[in-house]
């Protein structure tokens, strides 16, 4: 639905460049930096997109994935800015975790304008879930309990305090009408990953889980976890279409954890446009749709100027809420 709009936008915006864009020739091989150890989400983004790029012939050689862990993406961000400023054969994997850290100033001395944002190729949506024996049946009930007593429900999630999983609770809580002064009092326990947090919820040690749908899906299917709401604009495709959205429950909270890329600031407009067009083509390809299907990635696609605006908006709103709850001063 959004897709043709993006296309039109790009088409008009780049009409003048079209001739040059086709003149740009991408080098034979490309590199994708995954700013984490092998095995994580960014690593997956790089490897799967890299494979599709090579399979479809956009890159005639191969796309090499380089793992560059550190500072939640900060090391790779700094590396891109300082050492690869004009490398047009480089893409770097990013996600909402990147924007969260940028918004909270955790990449010291760096901000989102220091790179160019190419696009997102799918998303993992936020969920709020409780154990199967929990007294809460809907997100509204859960939020009502928090309104009466902000410490009534303790949340567990896989990101650090102030990270994306924590913010989801606060975004939902704010929309549900919890008083501003009470938001910082909502208890959030940071675990090393979604699975560890869910274990504690299922074991009855804490009340609710905040995380991504991909983390919750297995536990939902095994019946251990009851997902109260998914933080997406519309219901997710089957088999997840039984989960109500927060919006249906009159809580305006949408929290996509998108998977996408940025490129160095200094690349030419032609090279940038080449990546934008290529990502558009990758997204619609059967190969990529197949990857999304197999790995539980939900539809989410923005590229070029549209995506840059979206990233800026996300950073601004995270900044706002982080300031409100005192995470940044």
């Amino acid at each position: 639905m959004k897709f043709p709009a993006v296309k039109t936008l790009i088409a008009t915006a780049t009409f003048a460049l079209a001739a040059q864009a086709s003149a740009f020739e991408q080098s034979r091989t490309a590199e994708c930096i995954a700013p984490a150890n092998p095995g994580g989400g960014w690593d997956f983004t790089c490897r799967s997109v890299g494979k599709v790029l090579a399979d479809l012939g956009y890159i005639s050689g191969n796309v090499q994935t380089v793992n560059m862990p550190g500072a939640g993406g900060g090391v790779a961000f700094a590396h891109t800015i300082s050492k690869r400023g004009d490398d047009s054969a480089l893409i770097v994997a990013a996600s909402t975790a990147t924007t969260t850290r940028l918004a909270q100033g955790q990449f010291v001395g760096m901000d989102l304008d220091m790179v160019r944002w190419v696009g997102a190729l799918g998303a993992d949506y936020g969920v709020i879930a409780v154990s199967k024996d929990s007294p809460y049946q809907t997100l509204t009930e859960l939020m009502d309990a928090l309104k009466a007593d902000p410490t009534a429900v303790k949340f567990g999630g896989g990101s650090a305090a102030g990270g994306w999983d924590h913010l989801k609770v606060l975004i939902a809580g704010r929309s549900a009408g919890i008083e501003k002064a009470n938001l910082p009092k909502v208890k959030y326990l940071a675990f090393n990953g979604g699975a560890e947090a869910i274990t504690q919820v299922v074991g009855g040690h804490i009340e609710a889980f905040t995380g991504d749908i991909s983390e919750a899906q297995g536990f939902m299917e095994s019946g251990d976890l009851k997902v109260l709401a998914v933080l997406s604009e519309e219901r997710l495709p089957a088999p997840l279409d039984g989960i109500p959205t927060a919006r249906e429950q009159n809580i305006e909270a949408v929290a996509p954890n998108w998977r996408g890329f940025y490129v160095p600031k200094g690349v030419s407009d032609e090279a940038y446009q080449w990546w934008v067009d290529t990502m558009d083509n990758v997204y619609t390809s059967d190969n990529w749709q197949d990857v999304m299907q197999k790995n539980g990635l939900m539809p989410f696609h923005k590229t070029g100027a549209d995506f840059s605006t979206f990233v800026k908006g996300q950073v601004d709103s995270i900044k706002e809420i982080s300031t409100e709850i005192g995470l940044i001063k």
């Binding site: 150890n37 095995g39 862990p69 305090a161 326990l189 274990t199 504690q200």
Partner: protein, 509 residues
Amino acid sequence: METLNFLLQGFAVALTPENLMFAAIGAILGTIIGALPGLGPANGVAILIPLAFSLGLPASSALILLTSVYAGAMYGGRISSILLNIPGDEPAMMTCLDGYPMALKGKAAEALAISAIASFIGSLLATVGLVILAPVLAKFALRFGPAEYFALFTLAFATLGGITGKNQVKTVVAACLGLMIATIGVDITTGNQRYTYDILELYEGVDFIIAIVGLFAISELLFFIEMHAGEGFKKVALNKLKLSMKDIIQVLPTSLRGSILGFIAGVLPGAGASLGSFLSYTMEKKVVGKNGTFGEGDPRGVAAPEAGNNAAANGALVPMLTLGVPGSGTTAVLLAMLISLNIQPGPMLFTQNAELVWGVIAALFVGNLILLLLNIPMIGIFVKLLSIPPKYLMPVVTLVASVGIFAISNSPLDLYFMIGFGLLGYLLRKLHIPLVPVILGMLLGPEMEKSLRHALTISDGDWTILWSSGLSVGIWVVAITGLVLPYIVGPVLRRRMAAAQDKEHSIVD
């Protein structure tokens, strides 16, 4: 029944040609690593982790490869014990006692064969034990909340020195060092940075795989340089194998008893394989060694510790997989690898990553069979490897380690860190401060801190939550016992171990 189904599914994973190949490669590498003096199992697995990553193996294959290395190292340890009278790794120490005298009597091949069979029985029974016990414990482990975990981590630290540990203070110093290193990085409970000095590379803390490779492998290299041990070791020649069914039947009861005792020792946190082999040997000596043949080359004296240490090694996987609390140095390294693969050990591992866990367990069965097949007919090849001079071997090991570390992160800083940890490891070993507690401190420290802070968040700062459940009280009691017991039982046990070794030396001299 459910377990059996899972196990069958596991075999389906383990028996794919690819995974079968990884199990075989792992078994061979493990045997070599175990056999070479100085390259223990923890070391071997640590060096291979970065390699498994850079090969881009899927999680199940990587795990199968590395658990096979682990199992293989336990087999390999006995080879140098028997032929060189130098244990290839610490748990193989007790195998020297009767293995070397047997070899001196011209029965080296028999000693190797018997110990291989005993290792097989020990591993097999312990894997069966793992299959039965782990899912039960996994269900039970759901009752572990932050308070219980905090008590459990304290228990792991309290029993670190092990019952045979000599100097509790040095163990504590080492553990504290690990805990201190663990505080570097972003504190996940508040999001604040600690000791990072705006160096981006430090935000996620110090990678424990780098620390492990540095502490163990690099310090080993430094020790080697210092000793100038350029040539291979003198070893006993291998005779032609003459093993009758009767010989095998003779050691069967011993192997069974050793396996059970070893498994129990392995499951307990902190005890580990060394204690497993020691207990098996001493018990067997009490039960069947009355006529004093133990220590002079009794085959049962070879079978007991081998069954014991292999069983303990697999037993140690139980707390590691179900609770995420490693019972020994090597399982700590395996835990580090699981975390690096984004697999969270714990009660949910058995439901969420069922295919993976059961694939690995099935691979243990398969690997064990491969190891038995490898270790009897092909023993000659492994023995030949023992004569490779370390001056060729150590540089190769260092090279593999460095390339592996660099391939994970592409960061030269990590290599400097690795060398730094190597120097630290050298220094600590000179001071006789054990290295395993440093690793466990780094690995468990953040978990322990997190559990404590979570517990206090839940209770609104009320400390009594730490001992408010029967389960946590029970764990505290065990922890305190574990801390105090070495002062009471330790001297006695150590005297006996020393006595046993003195006796052995008197034979050798």
